[in-house]
Amino acid sequence: MKLPRLLRLRREKGGIANFTMRGVKREEEQRRSVFTRRALLLAGGQLGLFGFLGYRLHTLQVEQGERYATLAEENRLSARLLSPPRGRVLDRNGQVVAGNRLNWRALLVAEQTSDVGATLETFSRIVPLGEHERARVEREMRRRRRFVPVIVREFLTWEDMARIEVNAPDLPGILIDVGTTRIYPEAEHLAHIVGYVAPPAERDMDGDPLLQLPGIRVGRSGIERFHDLAMRGRAGSVQLEVNAVGRVIRELDRREGQPGQDIEISVDTELQKAIRGRIEEGTSVVVMNARNGEVLAMASQPSFDPNVFNSGVSNAQWRQLTNNRATPLINKATNGLYAPGSTFKMVVALAALEARVTTPYERVSCPGHFDLGESRFHCWNRGGHGALDQRTALKLSCDVYFYEMARRLGINRIAAMSRRFGLGVDLDIELPGARRGLVPTREWREAQGRGWALGDTVVHGIGQGFYQLTPLSLATMTARLATGRAVQPHLTRSIGGRPARGGRPEDWPSMGIAERDLRLMRDAMWAVVNEAGGTASIGRLPSGYGQMAGKTGTTQVRRVSREQRERGFRVESLPREYRPHALFVGYAPHDNPLYAVSVVVEHGTSGSAAAAPLARDAIVETFNRFRAVPQPGARVADAERSGR
């Protein structure tokens, strides 16, 4: 056997020599040298293995040290977000219309009780728990670590809490803590304006870590949605040191978040409630500050309670809201679309004056109908008005006069004037989903692959036809007529205490319509309400409230056939859903316009009878609220100041 030189051993011959002293010595020497060699070899091997350990340590601690340091930090640190309180919504008087309510909750910490089941059993004898509620608690208990509290019951009443506190010794592991929840004190009164919140859905996740927090809510509609980012605030964070099982050892760093900003809206809650108290299903009323476009009230019946969305709306509730034919979820003031009818006639008249196709003094003869080729267009007054000038035509709301004006103007000049009055354009109201409406033009119709006939133009001269306008845009039109400024309706007065744009009348530019022409319109609108024979005499304000100017409108929802006409047709005989809509637009005081109002009563039959009284009451209530019953010559500024 061939061995390495170092290990090769000399073979000893002659075992007898071992019995001599010399032999013992030699044997000892030999064993010693073998041992020494092997011991050194062993030492070398062990030194090598020590070297290997050193190499391993170097690899782990120096070469990969940074990687492991990162892993160690990840082990150790846990960041948690602090959810800031959501900004409130206040009305113009500082009354909270969307706030945060403390939400007292009972929590259960598994590790603090020896028997979770027994604690839950005792708890449900004090505060009854449903079967599925207990199942949910037990499910969450299994999923979480034993020191993580699980919500047993939310929205505890004082009585519940008192009973829990009294029984605390029998309820080991039960804690009471407080979170917040959104509350709308005015419930359905401002639901369409303020909107509501709901837990964020997948599509709401915009990268804001705040949205990951349990219990967080995002605005789903109205102001809540429009100003969601401002009201949401910024999440704070705490850096916690946690141990291997996730228990918090200490707080390392705390960064306070930014609470959401309060939004002040221009609505007056009491005015809103008073108006809502007056109106029935299918009615919408908008009251605006005519000078700066602030919406003071915007009512739409029916409405809904936004509080139900916060705690999670049930399927049955949701179906009841969405399948309701009266569409409580829809704000008719911004999303209801109506033909303006006669309330539109000022726009046609102004267009005619500006285009110089008529003069205020030109008289047009009304025989009760207007013939265009084969077609005949009727005036609402079958007997005809005789010859009348523009003021009288507006006051009596003669249709034939405006058929003639439309014929002279053509549809596009009417449409252009409409848009200057905020009709069929985006008004940028802070209510997401608000409709812009439709003002037809020749091009619009042709884009649909249909031709535009002169007969179409004639019908649109009295605000019938393809028009689809919202009550809000009609109020805007009225405010612009009253002030000559291109005011836009808006709801935001201030964000986080900083005034929003558009609060002063000077913020809005002039419409560029001759003041002389506008004055003619205002005079005619005054006559409509206040002169004998005007169509809206019923809308006259009680004494002491000054005078209102306005215009009625009644729009057919169904064509009246010739046959019906000849049989002496009466609207009242129709089923309600076929009756015409009733409209009214107006402003007051007539000589110093402060407030503009628009009213739409679906199937209200008559603008004079159904809409005008509501507008009158709304204006009276507005004056009452703002304590600005104007004496003749009262200054606007005084009214504004006392109104705050």
Binding site: R32, L49, Y68, L71, R76, V245
Partner: protein, 385 residues
């Protein structure tokens, strides 16, 4: 014996271990100091493992070491020849304890390992390693080169190894039984057993691996599989290895500082006061501290080798090299384990880890080494049959 006077006289005059004072002078105080340094490292590490509370581990460690130190010095005074004569008795006692633990030992972690001796829990397998080194040294002390070459002469020591290895394996404690077997092999090797015999045994052992694997307990197999791929089960069996590597690696070159280690204090590190104490040191004192500790431990082993090389009799040589290797195996397996280099084996780091059994037996072993040093020149020829 005629003609032997000169030789005998020379031996006698050089036998410096006759008087107590002379023996005291002979005690290798540098070695004792070295052991104190190692125990001090242990004290610091355990102080940190107790999160700055010495009552938890550190104080006990110091007291235990003090007791063991006195015991070690006492053993150091015992004549080496007496020790050699006591070897068979010790072996019988050791095996007896192993049998006892098999019959009614305490069960810890699925294995019967402990005997409860009141204040002290004794792990006979630890003691057995020392006894095995002693027994084998005594056996081979009598063996000439020729006799070592005789296969029949090796049958008895082979059985001497296999009996305790088998008993420890049955506990079951795979790690310690393997270490015991390796220790026995090293003794054979140092005694001069021929190369080719090792080749045969090792070859046979490799062939036996599949058979052994079949007989392993589930947790032992899990150890091997998670060693091969620790990330496969990060929260289960692989957790210890991963967390140990994270703690160790995050220490970096200079460490996080005394009491500043995060993984240990936050309990990410399991058994930080026992098997993973080295990780604690490496996390808080970095590569510098880890290498320093390793060097200190290496010096302890080196001293045992020095004793072995300076010893004039085969018994002392084999005993010192066996005990030195025993301590080396503790260190290597433990550090290799915490660095994720070999499967976790539940092997402590004696004199540093918290735990009495390993410290007691290790100190007994060092007592024997000291005795070998003190009596290195004693006349202790191979016994004649």
């Amino acid at each position: 014996m005629s003609g032997s006077t000169v030789f005998e006289k020379r031996l006698l005059t050089r036998d410096r271990g006759s008087g107590i004072l002379q023996k005291l002078w002979q005690i290798p105080w540098i070695f004792v100091l070295l052991l104190c340094a190692v125990a001090a490292v242990g004290y610091v590490a355990l102080y940190s493992a107790g999160s700055g509370n010495p009552d938890l581990y550190a104080t006990k460690h110091a007291l235990r070491f003090g007791f063991c130190l006195v015991m070690m010095l006492c053993i150091g005074f015992i004549d080496i020849r007496l020790i050699a004569r006591a070897a068979p008795v010790a072996y019988v006692v050791g095996v007896g304890l192993l049998v006892m633990v098999a019959l009614h030992g305490e069960v810890g972690k699925g294995a019967q390992r402990w005997i409860d001796l009141g204040p002290l829990q004794l792990q006979p397998s630890e003691l057995m390693k020392i006894i095995l080194a002693l027994t084998l040294a005594a056996w081979f002390h009598r063996a000439s080169w020729e006799r070592v070459g005789n296969p029949f002469f090796l049958v008895v020591p082979a059985i001497l190894i296999l009996v305790p290895v088998g008993l420890i394996f049955k506990q079951p404690n795979l790690g310690t039984s393997l270490i015991t077997a390796v220790l026995g092999g090293v003794m054979f090797w140092a005694a001069g057993v021929r190369w080719w015999k090792f080749a045969i045994v090792i070859g046979g052992a490799v062939a036996a691996v599949p058979i052994v694997y079949e007989n392993l307990r589930d947790y032992q197999r899990a150890r091997i599989t998670t060693f091969l791929d620790p990330e496969s089960d990060p929260l289960g069996a692989g957790y210890n290895i991963i967390q140990s590597k994270i703690a160790l690696g995050s220490g970096g070159f200079w460490g996080k500082g005394f009491l500043q280690g995060t993984q240990g204090h936050l309990n990410f590190l399991p058994e930080k006061q026992t098997d993973f104490i080295f990780t604690m040191i490496a996390e808080e004192f970095g590569l510098v501290g880890a290498m320093g500790t390793l060097t200190l431990l290496m010096l302890v082993v080196a001293f045992c080798f020095l004793v072995a090389l300076r010893c004039k009799h085969q018994f002392g040589r084999l005993l010192a090299i066996g005990l030195g290797t025993n301590y080396f195996l503790y260190i290597f397996v433990n550090v290799a384990m915490v660095t994720g280099s070999i499967p976790v084996g539940g092997v402590p780091l004696p004199l540093i880890s918290h735990g009495g059994s390993a410290m007691l037996t290790t100190m007994i072993g060092f007592g024997l080494v000291i005795s070998a040093w003190v009596h290195r020149d004693a006349e202790f020829g191979p016994a004649r049959d």
